[in-house]
Amino acid sequence: ADLRMSWWGGDSRHLATQEALKVCGEKHGHTVAPEFTGFSGHLEKLTTQLAGGTEADIMQVNWPWLPLFSINGDGLADLNALSGTLDLSNWTPEQLGAATMNGKLNGLPVSTTGRVFMFNKATYDKAGVPLPKTYDDLVTAAKAFKEKLGEDYYPIDITTLNAVLIVSNYITQKTGKDLIDPATNTVAWSEDEITEGLNFYQMLVDNGVMRSWKVATGSGISNLWENPAWSEGRIAGSYEWDSTYFKYSDTLGEGQELVPVNILSVEGGQTEGVYRKPSMVFAISQNSENQEAAAQVLNCLLNEPEGIAALGATRGLPASKAASAQLTEAGTIDPILVDANNIVMASTGPNVSPFNEHPEVRSVFTDTLELFAYGEISAEDAADEMILGINEVLEKY
């Protein structure tokens, strides 16, 4: 059959995917027309296509988009129905669960990713402090940095999205709960818990652990890795997706070394609170006339040696067991990435609800946190507002 597949990405992903499609197409006797773009605008494009029913047969879908496209599970094809063709055994139930909407498997996780701490060892060495293991270590490190290296040295950078995730991580460690209670589909944290998390954030700022929100925004450079302060080691750490390790290490100056470490712990934490999720899924169009064929190609891409080899690690460490094994064996993947990923995989934490990344939920969280960070509202009010706001969004589902 004649199929189409759409995705976004960079050059290496484009090349690899085109190659893989050729290979898998030939293998199963299909032709697959590639449709790819950069990331910007891809959501609009995909949305428009879905609204018009003209989407490609196979789509790369960002995990947080799932509830948008298919809150009832019927916006995309239910892959359970194609389990004859798709070898679902390559994924853990947890992984499949993350891609299941309303009981329907809407996509196959391509890779699993999560946040890890990464620190610039060179700077820490210069300051004579070990790499942190707990959040308290950060405060200690900050003191040492200011004394030994200068006022503009920071042990870590926590702003905007990172701030949201760190606050989340802190509260999750404290409570052992994800932001959203899957049972009731409401905010799981209490007002006090959130207040505590916010105060914790403020404490970090006050101790010079990271730049304040305002200063960070004012730096004008939204991407940390583009920031000279990062490449020169003045900002000596961050909390990032494991898969983005190289993005951050590439721009480091000579002699610097970026080391991924275990999740920093909070005193009395109930869990490590890892933020782990499928990075993206491959989905099949509900409107596709050749779902079977699409499933063949999809299976080839994710589970069959030809496809796996061709795709390589251009979408991170594969979630599919077969792929992961094949690539590890072939040594295609840089060991440090494996290390980072291992940290993510090994850490504990409650399941992360996709609603964490629901745009409205995210905005409420971020906006409120920003208000708090700018000192516009108190921690209590912020906590209150967050709960109200997020619950209001969730109510719709």
Binding site: R4, G10, E35, T37, F39, G52, A56, S231
Partner: protein
């Protein structure tokens, strides 16, 4: 004797005044150039940066604010030109041309015609029609995007260039129509009247009289349409899905995935290339703004 010397001194004085005037002119000219050049630099700053950066290596781009690359490389251009698709950038330029050419051409024609109709004729419903023209300008197009997409889907024009230029060819860009209407209303009717008496029908009047008189404005229309089409990213993104039909604007963002590391110098190098036609076209067209057809026509 005294009178002679008097006239001498008055003449000298006159010369002195002359010299002073000339000096003042020179000074004011140099001031003008200085300001022009100074402000011009601010205008050019990004372009210079862009060009400089396109010759830098990837890691140098953000680490050094200097314009001049430490060790210049053509890699950005060579790699960028190849692209991650089966096609080179030449293909994307060609696609852009296929869109721009009919679009600019027909926009100029249709916008001029429609503007002429609005500015020079009375007909029933003119007010309402003109109001609708203005109205289409006012609605944020975010919300018409989906319905428009559905429309073109039903016409069967998806993944073709047609949605990108046909509406413009039917005077769909109210901006241009409105602009030409304003220009036309500022042009006296005398010449058109003469042409009418000379036996020109209204179309001939349009072609032979109005168009030449509106030349600067029409050239602006073409320029804008050119630039904007060149830069338009969202339109092609939504309507074109086959890579082989991508125009430059889309191809430029093809490799940018913010969640991944990507090669800035390639992208910048191709940006430079993408800007070049626009720069060239503008440079060539701007001379029509030097001396239009001094509209008064006759002097004594």
């Amino acid at each position: 004797m005294t009178t002679v010397s008097e006239t001498m001194t008055t003449q000298d004085a006159a010369r002195a005044v002359q010299a002073k005037l000339a000096r003042r002119r020179r000074i004011s000219a140099s001031i003008r150039y200085a300001i022009l050049a100074g402000v011009g630099l601010i205008m050019l700053y990004p372009l210079i940066w862009l060009i400089g950066a396109s010759f830098k290596t990837n890691s140098e781009i953000f680490s050094s604010p200097s314009f001049i690359p430490k060790d210049p490389t053509l890699d950005g251009y060579i790699e960028g030109w190849k692209t991650s698709t089966p096609y080179t950038f030449a293909r994307f330029f060609w696609n852009t041309f296929l869109i721009i050419f009919p679009k600019v051409l027909f926009t100029a024609i249709s916008a001029t015609m429609v503007a002429y109709g609005f500015a020079r004729f009375e007909f029933p419903g003119k007010k309402i029609l003109f109001a609708s023209l203005i109205a289409t300008l006012l609605l944020p197009n975010v919300v018409t995007r989906i319905p428009q997409y559905l429309l073109f889907r039903d016409i069967g024009w998806l993944d073709s260039f047609l949605p990108l230029w046909v509406p413009s060819a039917l005077a769909g860009d109210a901006f241009f129509v409105f602009m030409l209407v304003q220009f036309l209303r500022a042009v006296p009717r005398d010449m058109e009247e003469a042409a009418r008496v000379d036996g020109a029908n209204s179309l001939q009047t349009l072609v032979f009289i109005v168009v030449p008189l509106l030349k600067p404005a029409i050239i602006s229309v073409c320029l804008f349409q050119f630039m904007w089409t060149m830069n338009d990213f969202l339109g092609p993104l939504i309507y074109i899905s086959s890579v082989e039909k991508y125009p430059v604007s889309l191809a430029l963002k093809l490799s940018i995935d913010t969640t991944e590391a990507f090669d800035w110098n390639k992208i910048l190098a191709m940006s430079v290339l993408a800007i070049t036609p626009a720069l060239a076209v503008f440079f060539m067209a701007q001379k029509y703004f030097i001396e239009g057809i001094s509209s008064g026509g006759v002097k004594g």
